[in-house]
Symmetry: C3
């Protein structure tokens, strides 16, 4: 049984997600459908890119990841397939796969253009249903990407700004706030260790007017209600709080600066 995941900004109040699943099941009745999230803020391609990045590798090899955050629907942007060693991705060519391009060593991009794999009538406002869902369904049945369209070499790739080193300070930012109020930064464990030194455990992490002095191993390393820094489950530095919301405690929002300073 093959797996298709779904990541959209459709929400769950409308029937759009259900309709896409209906189309998929009409083409591949034995597929397993898994929601990643449908709560991407409307048209927030970067948020979708991050949530996809931190989710895709946990799925079995062969999984098709369908992503529909598509403010340009019906316009000039291409529908594409990205093929990596273990996975297939389907969605609009609007940069939503930028972090996949960054992470994966080798990948190929195909433009979905063969109308034989579209729904018979293609609307101008819901390609999720008319183009992307059928494409994902055919791929999950084993149709090779090259049958859906030709390989392309030009595709949209966002310059996701990673953390930068400025005057001996590593400067990153909050890229996601989760339900628990954990502040996920764009500073990966590797970048951090490269900066402070692999064996160093002490250094300063600065957010707003707070200075935190080390990476904790787990939330309960500090008393309840206190702030801490951990390497979060996605492999990035998180500012968190034990049994409380760091986002509320710091009134922090995505984009907030986080600085790391080597100990003197």
């Amino acid at each position: 049984m093959s797996v298709i995941t779904l990541t959209t900004d459709f929400g769950t109040r409308d029937n759009y997600v259900g309709v896409m699943k209906g189309v998929i099941l009409g083409i591949n009745p034995s597929v397993c459908l898994v929601d990643i999230t449908h709560e991407i803020a409307p048209r927030q391609i970067r948020e979708a890119a991050f949530l996809l990045l931190s989710a895709y590798r946990w799925f079995p090899s062969g999984t098709v990841h369908l992503v529909v955050v598509d403010p340009g629907v019906g316009g000039k942007r291409n529908p594409i397939i990205v093929e990596t060693e273990r996975y297939l991705f389907v969605g609009p060519d609007n940069g939503v796969f930028s972090l996949i391009y960054e992470r994966e060593q080798e990948f190929q991009v195909f433009k979905i253009s063969n109308p034989q794999f579209f729904l018979p009538k293609v609307s101008n406002t819901f390609h999720g249903r008319d183009i992307f869902a059928p494409a994902a369904a055919y791929l999950s049945k084993g149709t090779p990407p090259s049958q859906l369209g030709e390989q392309i070499n030009r595709y949209v790739r966002f310059p996701f700004t990673g953390p930068e080193i400025k005057e001996n300070i590593l400067e990153g930012e909050i890229i996601h706030i989760d339900r628990f109020g954990n502040l996920v930064t764009n500073i990966s464990e590797e970048t951090l260790k490269g900066f402070v030194g692999r064996d160093k455990e002490e250094f300063q992490i600065i957010i707003k007017d707070k200075i935190l002095n080390r990476i904790c191993h787990t939330y309960s390393d500090v008393p309840q209600g206190e702030l801490l820094v951990v390497i979060g489950s996605s492999g990035f530095l998180d500012v968190s709080a034990n049994c409380a919301s760091a986002a509320e405690m710091l009134s922090a929002k995505p984009g907030e600066t986080v600085r790391v300073k080597r100990s003197p």
Copy 2:
């Protein structure tokens, strides 16, 4: 593998939807369960009817559509099955299938009355679990509707008011606002073309104090942040905005009047 879809006003905070799925899987372990939505506003039968209408035909033939928006649970309303050429519908006889009756040429309605297909103990407050879920599960296994109860000829059918022609103006209304702020009207593409003439591209669409002069093909036909009118993915006239919320821009609510005027 057969498919059962679920449309309810149960929300996702409680365990009601999960419980219905547990009951279904106890009867048909190999069914594929797909959520349409559980975010119908409590007891809003008309909203459920519209979301069902614009979703049901995208599912494979043989799909059982289970709808539980049931303010009269435990009272006199009948539990029913509606059988059309390609689908089966299960839910309360409170008008929630009115738009299915309107759209489908031929259908039969059955009253679910054979207690052999109920759960052993039927509560007065949760027929979704005790009557509707088992009925859908048995139907998905191939049990014919006639075994669950007898065919009936009287059932509740709402007079869904379509758009009307008043003094040479086609007058419809907003029937649904989606997550993106698209305003879905009750004016179908066919009704519109019948009114303005099949080849006419220019006419006036009036909502609140705004006049829009044509049907666009896609959102990007207008600059970002501007209003437009399209034939939406459900086949109805939508008032939308490119990369913005028409609902916010117009402070529009369901029930708002939308008028179409032929160009002079």
Copy 3:
């Protein structure tokens, strides 16, 4: 096909639930995954315990119930398996299974300790992904609990305070408010009947300044917009309203006292 249910406080905005499902499908590709709810308020173990209690028995025998409400993740609390006659439960040993211990006659508890059944790298912040999801997946494939770890006799069990009799009055409390505003109490049908007498239909139920005089059979036993008391679908006494929200009408919150007085 075996079933795994998921009950968490992860919400649906992040990708945590999707990631757990990816891990499970990597181990058991043919499992059926069912969400109970992911809207448990962050870290609210008691709420999770109640929603699990009123859901678990509706699933087919052999179902694995995975519960991840885990404020102590990465700390000293054990990951455990609870085995009952018909079900397996997987989650943290923080009291979340207390109501299962209370309801089930016989059960065994195992500490999950065999790293062979963990993901290769275990984080300190997401045992749902690294320990609980794999454990549930292996159990769903038939791996016996004893292979995942040894049986234990000490585990956390909350003293869930049931209703008490004080000066001839049965005093309970609101333990859950559902989407419809139904106030679910901790007074079970059995406790009520034991207190008022099995055949008595008349007695006083007091909440805030309201006195209700009998148990109704269904919502429509009272006019629309009026309060009533029913035995709810979970088998507990509910304070509800016909086509309205009892929670709003009474401004009631979880913890609110509900008293039952025998009629004189």
